[in-house]
Amino acid sequence: MSGELILFLVLALVAIATALGMLLNRNSVYSALFLVMNFIAVAVFYLLLGAPFIAMAQITVYAGAIMVLFLFVIMLLGAERLPDAKVLPRQKLFAYGLAAVLAAETIYLLVTRARPEGIVLPPDEAANATGTLVALGKTLFTSYLLPFEVTSILLLVAMIGVIVLVHREKGVQK
């Protein structure tokens, strides 16, 4: 058992545990914090997979920006906990069951049908990290230029949309 595999297993355990923590915690602030840990774990996976750029993006965008936003909203609305309610009592049970079935199915399907072959190389071997980053940038700004620009427009539109949604006209009170 190589060191890498051990690292993987530990990290996987962390990832699953934090994910479950997010899922099960009744306080959404804790959920959010668990999710941050999960994201960090995933970022380390990216590093392991030889994708440092994505790992950085993951940390900054997800763990940094997005989750902070979540926390803000949670605090803004005071929605850490929702009062208990007895609607749809068996929902949870089904959710677990079906999710488990789904996981089993997906794993089975992906592993048997997709048959991914090969082994993930160690990061330094997989590619020279800096080389990867430069090549990645070049590809991004040449063959993927249009989607890149479209994405930027999308972000702009989202920004405007958020402002429009949250903005209240002066004097209009609800």
């Binding site: 068996r90 929902q91 089904f94 959710a95 069951g97 079906l98 789904l102 199915e105 399907l109």
Partner: protein
């Protein structure tokens, strides 16, 4: 367009101005008329512009006729505009100048211009009696539009252009009959006038339908609408096709020229102002049918069967309408039925192939019938003035200028019963006008004598020519027409005695005033023409000018010499009829409130005449009411209640709801999903309990069902 090279000589290039002159006139009146009307001289300006426009058309007609005569009468085609070009259909707007069309142009624009002038005076008073002076301008716009449309009709070089004018004059007729669209002929608020207008338009459309079908057959048989091409091709086509064309065309003629069975609109058309009745419903538009048949002479002469039907239609109409005229009391209604009857003469003539006679009668009729109508208008105005005068005399304390104001009417009702509804057109209100309106009386006399066919007035010569032709070829037609001629003289005599002789039967008649020169001057011109119009085509060797003139277009023209026997019989009949009318109406003048002296001896026959033989009622019972009921039925029951409400809303939407509610909800949802759940083998009861609430509105349960779907699909993919 084999003749178009001659366009450059003479005045032929002016042909489009036949139409454009009146169009410019009407545009001026539309655009600047409102501004004019605010001035004191506004009415005169509007009238003068319109009259000048119409006069310009007349001048162009004269120039064209002159050029044509100088060019030995050869037809000239003046191309103007390419209209519809698609596939094999090539339809152009071109002007055809030949002797036939110029004859019509001269009549239309000549009589038209005179009537324009007359209308300046007439409408000036009429709009005031009716209490809406603003409508003066509109009248002249419509009148100019009519001249333009009529010119398109007579000058078109193809059946289609003729049709354009044909429908166009129908429109003008609609507009002018409905000129006082918010009242009836007596000026009371009513739907009557607009109903009359609508009736005219729809009836004309029925005729137009026939015309259209004729045009379709023509196109697919001959490949063209152009006159020359049609006539050339007609010789190589089976006669059956031509019979169909000519008979469908006859439907069109019946509509426009008010022949049986479509004549019913013309008497109602008298709702229009009198100049309209004179111009459109006597002199010009209604003769378009006669023109059409004459124009299609080459088609009609190919099929004698069709000719016979046309001739009989005309003859029967002539007699039928003449009988109704005897029983009418309205001065204009008498003239209207007389017009139908005279149109019957013309149609009979052209049906017999006596095209020159038909055209001759058309021309003279235009003169004397216009004269009669306009004189009748003068009489009506005179009575209006008299009535006005009398009202003033009696109700000075009210000081109401307008007799037609509803308030005045109401008060009048309270005071004096007979003042409330005064009909200035009712001959029973007249009498003795010979003294109060002498000029009108003499003019009317000339018109009457011309219409009755007394030597040497124009009507004698033209009517005689028709009778002569009929006596030679179609004895049945001859007999019918002779009887009609007798009736004609009789009802005209009746009218003269009732209107101008005896004593006034109403104080309005007693106070009637003579009309101004602007009204009587055009009448005098028309009177002169009625007197001398016969000179156009005297039945003597060396005369026959109209015949020769039309020969250029019609090629073969039979010039009959005067037949003393026929002429003598018709004159005798006319004189006898006038004498008879004197016996009945002249010797013992009608008293106020006395019923018509014919009523007793004739009994139900006279009732029939009075009520137009109940033809309108028959049409209502047979066609109009069933049509209304059918469309009401279709609309309410079939379309709405059955198709819209029941079928679509109940059956389709209802079935859908039933299937989705009952079927899916109860059956599929409970049993189907239960079965699924059993098949899944896990927590049957609770799953179905959850699932039963599929439409519970909880987003999460929707998400759950999506998840279930995903699981099932992935499961299917695995098991596949």
């Amino acid at each position: 367009m084999h003749l178009s090279e001659t366009v450059n000589s003479g005045f032929f290039f002016l042909a489009p101005w036949l139409v454009f002159a009146p169009v410019i006139g009407l545009l001026i009146n539309i655009i600047f008329g409102g501004w004019f009307m605010k001035r004191s001289w506004g009415e005169r300006a509007v009238g003068v512009v319109a009259s000048l426009a119409s006069g310009a058309s007349f001048v162009v007609s004269v120039l064209l006729a002159w050029s044509l005569a100088a060019g030995h009468g050869e037809a000239v085609i003046v191309p103007f505009l390419e209209w519809i070009h698609i596939g094999s259909l090539e339809l152009d707007w071109a002007f055809r100048v030949d002797s036939l069309s110029t004859t019509m142009m001269l009549v239309v624009s000549g009589v038209g211009t005179l009537i324009h002038i007359y209308a300046i005076g007439y409408m000036h008073e009429d709009v005031r009696f009716k209490g809406d002076p603003g409508r003066f301008r509109r009248f002249f716009v419509f009148l100019n539009l009519f001249i333009a449309m009529m010119m398109i009709l007579v000058s078109g070089d193809s059946y289609l252009m003729l049709f354009v004018g044909w429908e166009g004059v129908g429109l003008c007729s609609f507009l002018l009959i409905g000129f006082w669209y918010d009242m009836d002929t007596l000026g009371r608020p009513s739907w009557a006038n607009s109903n009359a207008a609508k009736k005219a338009f729809v009836t004309n459309r029925v005729g137009d339908f026939g015309f259209l079908i004729a045009a379709f057959i023509m196109f697919w048989a001959f490949g063209s609408f152009q006159f020359d091409e049609v006539f050339e091709a007609a010789h190589s086509v089976a006669p059956g096709v031509i019979v169909a064309i000519t008979l469908f065309m006859l439907v069109g003629v019946a509509g426009k020229s008010a022949q049986i069975p479509l004549y019913v609109w013309l008497p109602d058309a008298m709702a229009g102002p009198t100049p309209v009745s004179a111009l459109i419903h006597a002199a010009t538009m209604v003769t378009a049918g006669v023109y059409l048949i004459t124009r299609s002479a080459e088609l009609y002469t190919l099929v004698p069967q069709a000719q016979y039907i046309v001739a009989m239609t005309g003859a029967i109409t002539a007699l039928f309408a003449a009988t109704i005229a005897v029983g009418q009391y309205d001065i204009k209604k008498v003239l209207a039925y007389s017009t139908i009857s005279q149109l019957g003469f013309m149609v009979a003539a052209v049906g017999m192939g006596a095209f020159v006679a038909g055209m001759f009668h058309l021309v003279t009729h235009a003169f004397f019938k216009a004269l009669l109508f306009l004189s009748a208008g003068s009489v009506i105005l005179g009575l209006e003035r008299g009535h006005h005068h009398a009202e003033h005399g009696h109700h000075e304390e009210h000081g109401k200028g307008k007799t037609k104001s509803p308030k005045g009417e109401k008060e009048g009702k309270r005071k004096e019963e007979h003042h409330e509804v005064f009909d200035p057109g009712d001959m029973r209100n007249m009498g003795g006008l010979r003294k109060t309106m002498p000029v009108t009386f003499w003019l009317y006399m000339i018109g009457t004598l011309a219409l009755a066919g007394i030597v040497p007035f124009a009507g004698f010569w033209s009517k005689d020519e028709i009778l002569l032709d009929a006596s030679r070829h179609y004895p049945a037609v001859y007999i019918l027409l002779s009887i009609a001629a007798f009736f004609t003289a009789f009802y005209m005599g009746r009218q003269i005695w009732m209107v101008f002789f005896g004593e006034p039967r109403h104080e309005a008649a007693a106070h009637a005033e003579e009309s101004k020169p602007i009204i009587t001057a055009p009448l005098m011109v028309l009177a002169a023409l009625s007197l001398l119009g016969g000179a156009l085509n005297l039945p003597f060797e060396g005369f026959h000018q109209l015949g020769h003139w039309l020969e250029y277009t019609l090629h073969e023209v039979e010039a009959l010499p005067l037949d003393l026997q026929v002429a003598g019989i018709s004159t005798l009949l006319a004189l006898a009829a006038i004498f008879l009318s004197w016996l009945i109406y002249g010797r013992n003048p009608l008293k106020t409130g006395q019923p018509d002296p014919l009523k007793k001896p004739l009994g139900f026959i006279f009732t029939g005449m009075e009520n137009k033989w109940f033809v309108d009622e028959g049409y209502f019972a047979v066609i109009i009411n069933p049509f209304k009921k059918l469309s009401q039925f279709l609309a309410d029951v079939i379309d709405w209640r059955f198709w819209h409400d029941w079928f679509h809303d109940t059956v389709i939407a209802g079935t859908y709801n039933w299937v989705s509610n009952i079927g899916l909800n109860l059956y599929a949802d409970q049993k189907g999903i239960d079965a699924f759940a059993n098949w899944l083998g896990a927590a049957t009861q609770s799953i179905s309990a959850t699932m039963r609430k599929v439409q519970n509105g909880f987003v999460r349960s929707y998400a759950l069902s999506v998840l279930l779907g995903v699981v099932l699909i992935v499961g299917y993919l695995i098991l596949k």
